[in-house]
Structures are given as C-alpha cells and as structure tokens.
C-alpha cells in the first residue's frame, strides 16, 4: 500500500481539486484522506456521508473554579500570555489567549485551577460518492493545528487502506511549510506538489521542497495555470530539472476548474476536453512513479 500526499506551499494553487480528481479516478483502488484540517474542503467534491464520527481531543486549557478561587491574583500575575483578566470581580481564563502551559494550575494556593483536555474538533470515516472510503476532520475555531489531528486522519486512512487491501491512500495535505505539512508528509511514499507560475508561487514551491528533500520523499510537480506567466513556468521547469523532480503536468488556466467545483464535481467529471485528459494522464503517471520508487 502506497501513500501519496498532495501539497502546495502556497494556498489557492488547486491542490484540493487535484486530490479530489485523483480520489475520483482512483475509485476502488484508494482510500482518500483530507488532512487540510484548518480549511477542510474536499468533502464538497467527494460528498462523503459522515457515517462515523469521533470527538477529537488535543491540548489543555486552564479553567478556574469560581467556588474555590480566593481572587488572590497570583495566576494572573504569573501568566505570560495575559490570559487571566478580571471580569465582574472574578478571575476568568480567556480561552483564546490561554496557551495551556499549566503554570497557573501549578501555583494556585487553593488548587482552584484545572487543565481539562479540549474537544477541538471531530474526525470522520465516510463513504464517498464513488463508494470509496474517506477519512476527514473538522477543527474548531482558534484550535491549534498541531499536526496531531493530521496524524490521526492519516493513520486511520492508512489502517483502513491496509485492512481493505487498497493500493493507495490519496491525501490532501496541509498548505504552508509548518508542523501540519510535516505531519502530512511523514511516512509518505510519494508527494505531488501543486504550484502556480507567480513570484510567490515559485518562492513557496522552493520552500516546501526543502521540507520534502529533508524527508527524502520522491516528488512530482503539477504546474497549474501555467499559461498566465510562461517566463516563470520556464523557471519552474528548470528548477524541477535541476532538483530531479518529475514534471507530471502543466495545466492551463481554465475556468472549468472552478465551474466544476461550483457544481460539486471534480474536474474529470465536469470537463470534456484537454483539462480532463491532462488530469487522467497525471493520475496514471503518479501511479507509475509511486510504484517504481524505491
């Protein structure tokens, strides 16, 4: 069973649309996972049924028991994050500012502060509109995406894929270059980087590739909207060549990309021409590359 993770560095390059197309084309060969938990969108295209849902707990936040509290103010004094204001003469923890360090709980003279685990979201196991399994999640407001939920979603997807004897997991990774991306990439057999030919797109491609190199994961690249700037597309092609990253496809700027999404469809369901053909060929190429990598 091989893990294919699709990442992008910069947001808005088309990562989720590409992943959904692969999930659709993969059909019974794949389990799909949406690890872009901060802004989980893939369900809008894969139409999962949310059959199974679980609470997700991560991190702790301080809570003051007003009955035990003697209003000495020691907690507020020690708190480095200004998270304990006095409201209506009571010391209260502001959840959005609390970092969960627990210092206040440790020094409260009357043990009035506890650090309960927070239910920061939910994760789900669903069946999609093409009858394959999808693992996805939703994080609550202001919840820190520590990579733990990403790890959970990925591991559940992997376990299901192994049990169902599927050939691949296709994973929508987190955007950016921080912790959640690292968690998305860890253990991957192959990564597809979706980029766009803009100054910031190319800049972020290079940055996210630094991470990929560190993990020694084989990589391929899809250049989306390649024709809005041929000069930068050429620069990206040179970069791919120099770094020995497989060029999987260059997709033209095509509003069908968005029209499909608006109708809740993947590109390959909606488009009838060049874009569809390129996506189908991309999936074929990705499968070949991942089966040949060491």
């Amino acid at each position: 069973m091989k893990e294919i993770v699709i990442i992008s560095g910069k947001g808005g390059t088309g990562k989720t649309s590409v992943t959904a197309s692969f999930g659709f084309l993969g059909g019974q060969d794949v389990v799909v996972a949406d690890c872009d938990v901060d802004a989980a969108d893939m369900h809008l295209l894969m139409k999962p049924d949310f059959a199974q849902s679980e609470d997700f707990y991560s991190g702790v936040l301080a809570e003051i028991n007003p009955e035990k509290c003697i209003q000495c103010g020691l907690c507020a004094e020690k708190c480095r994050f200004d998270a304990i204001p006095v409201i209506n003469k009571q010391h209260v923890v502001k959840k959005l500012d609390c970092e969960g360090c627990g210092y206040c709980a440790k020094i409260c003279p009357v043990e009035a502060i506890t650090m309960p685990e927070q239910n920061v979201g939910d994760w789900y196991i669903s069946t999609t509109k093409v009858d394959n399994t999808m693992v996805h999640a939703k994080l609550g407001i202001g919840a820190e995406n520590s990579g733990k939920l990403v790890a959970k979603v990925k591991n559940e997807a992997k376990a299901i894929a192994e049990k169902q004897q599927k050939k691949f997991t296709v994973i929508d990774g987190s955007p950016g270059v921080g912790c959640p991306v690292v968690s998305s990439l860890s253990g991957a057999d192959f990564t597809v980087i979706v980029t766009e030919p803009s100054v910031s797109g190319f800049h972020d491609l290079k940055r996210v590739y630094e991470l990929v190199k560190k993990f020694k994961i084989s990589a391929g690249c899809i250049i989306n909207k390649y024709d809005i700037n041929q000069e930068i597309t050429d620069k990206i092609m040179n970069f791919l060549r120099d770094e020995k990253i497989e060029h999987i496809a260059s997709l033209p700027y095509d509003e069908n990309f968005t029209r499909a999404m608006t109708l809740g469809k993947t590109i390959v369901e909606f488009d009838k021409g060049d874009l569809k053909e390129k996506m189908v060929n991309s999936w074929t190429k990705v499968k070949q590359l991942v089966n040949h990598e060491k």
């Binding site: 809008l44 969960g100 407001i141």
Partner: protein, 284 residues
C-alpha cells in the same frame, strides 16, 4: 486605525488586496503595511522601498545551568510541551517546542534554568513614498509564529502614531497566528471567492471574527466566477460586502509578475476606491 485583512481559505487574494490597498491609499495619506504571515511573507514582492531598519527578534527560552542543578526533575514535570527532558545526568531543552511560559524556570528550586533570549526571526522596516512596510520572517525551523507576530505589532505601535492608518496582512486560516494578528484590529476585512470552497471557509472565518467581537466586512475577489451563494450568505447574515473585484485573467497575469494591479486595471481601482470610502466612514 488598524485594519486587518484576513481570510479562511488560502489563495483568495488577501496579500494582493493588502499590498494594492496600501499602495493606493498611500497616494493620499501616510500608510503602514505589515505582513504578519511570518512563516511565508509575500507582500514585499509588490512594495518597493528603502530599508530603514532591521531588527533581530528574540524569544525567551530556558538555559540549563549544570553547576547548580540537583537533577530533581521538577522542570520536566512542569513543562506541558515536552520541551524539557531529563536524560540521566543531563537536562535537555528543546527551543522549538518551548512556549516561553517560564514555569520550569521560575519553579526550579535551585534557579538552574534561567531564561535567556534566543533568536527566532527578523523584522525589516522599509520606507517608500508615504508608505512604511514592515515585514517579519520566522527563521527556518522555528515553529512558533505567535511570539513574532506579537512583537511585530508591538514595534508598529511604538514606532507609529496611533492615528496612522495601519494595514495588517494576516496569515491565512483561523488558528492561533490569525487570532494574534487580528485581536487588536479595529476592523477586519475578510477576503473570499464566490465558490463552494470560498463560502465554506468564509463561514469559519466569520465565526472566528465574531468570537473576537470585531467589526468586519467582506470583499469578494474573482467575482463573476462560481456562483452567487457567497453573496446570498452575506446578505442573509447582514454582512456588508464592500467590494467585488472582477474575475479577470489579466489580474492573475499582472499578479504573477509581482506588479501592482490598480495602476493597470481601472475596474480594480474602482473597487479599491469603494474600500477606501468605507474605511474613511468607519474612521468617523
């Protein structure tokens, strides 16, 4: 007046709008533009200026004093982030995991973990024509964006007059770094696109902004694409839509070259004027 420009979804055009709006407004009054996407600052690609000031930014982390330590192991127990580990006769500190809460340091019975400053990133201050541009960049390997965002905002508050117009280009998403960037703003502009992904993430962004009890309004980018559901959602929830930037391929091309758009596309300029008028009204 502090205006934060945020979005739930990445790639909606937040940075494009921040940079163009700042440059546009600077034609008539002094503007401060801050790029608070410290992991991945990009608005500097559009603003040219002279480097005025450069500052290394530090976070506080504990440093082990081997001589006075009695290896009691309290520090490890006091750290909620696994940033302090006792390995036999050694205490190891992991700066990337440290949240600078000071618990291990202040609760150490022998004062063997004093807090020292460690470099976490850099702030750069550029000056252009009537515009000051502040950009902060986290060093590679640093995971905590929040302290650098906080220190950048502090720098701006100290350097510039309260009355100056300040635009904060926030990081994408809705978690801690975004909260840090927007919590002191007077007004928040949410940038979205009229597609299912745009709408879905806009709703999350709206929930977040409401938690912060902030005034906010929406700018729809790439209007004409997708459908009318974002428009309907805003109307149903009494959320003001202050501009609709048209979906023009030309805009994508100009953006890809790192150039300002309003100087070349009159429709874009018209929408910036609407935003500018709305801001002026909010200021009064």
């Amino acid at each position: 007046m502090r205006i934060a420009i945020a979005s739930g979804k990445g790639g909606t055009g937040k940075t494009t709008l921040s940079a163009n709006l700042a440059a546009f407004l600077s034609k008539t009054e002094p503007v401060v533009l801050a790029d608070l996407d410290v992991e991945e600052p990009n608005s500097g690609l559009f603003i040219k200026g002279k480097l005025e000031n450069e500052e290394v930014k530090y976070k506080m982390i504990p440093e082990w004093n081997e001589e006075t330590c009695t290896l009691c192991g309290e520090c490890q127990k006091n750290c909620n982030f696994n940033a302090v580990i006792q390995l036999g006769p050694q205490i190891l500190v992991f700066p990337e995991l440290c949240h600078s809460c000071y618990a291990c340091s202040e609760l150490c019975p022998t004062d063997s973990l004093p807090m020292v400053s460690q470099r976490m990133g850099e702030l750069k201050h550029y000056s252009g024509n009537n515009i000051a541009f502040i950009e902060s960049h986290l060093d590679v390997g640093q995971e905590q964006a929040v302290p650098l965002i906080g220190q950048t905002i502090q720098y701006i508050e100290e350097k510039f007059d309260d009355k100056a117009l300040k635009i904060y280009d926030s990081p994408p998403g809705t978690s801690c770094p975004v909260i840090e960037a927007t919590k002191d703003a007077d007004f928040i502009i949410l940038v979205t696109e009229p597609t299912p992904f745009g709408l879905h993430d806009l709703k999350i962004a709206v929930e977040t902004v409401k938690e912060l009890h902030k005034s906010f309004a929406v700018v729809i980018n790439r209007y004409g694409l997708g459908d009318e559901k974002v428009l309907d959602y805003c109307n149903e929830n009494d959320i003001p839509i202050i501009a609709k930037i048209p979906n023009l391929r030309q805009i994508a091309e100009i953006y890809s070259r790192g150039e300002l758009i309003f100087e070349q596309v009159p429709e874009f300029r018209d929408e910036l004027l609407k935003i500018s008028d709305y801001i002026k009204k909010e200021m009064d």
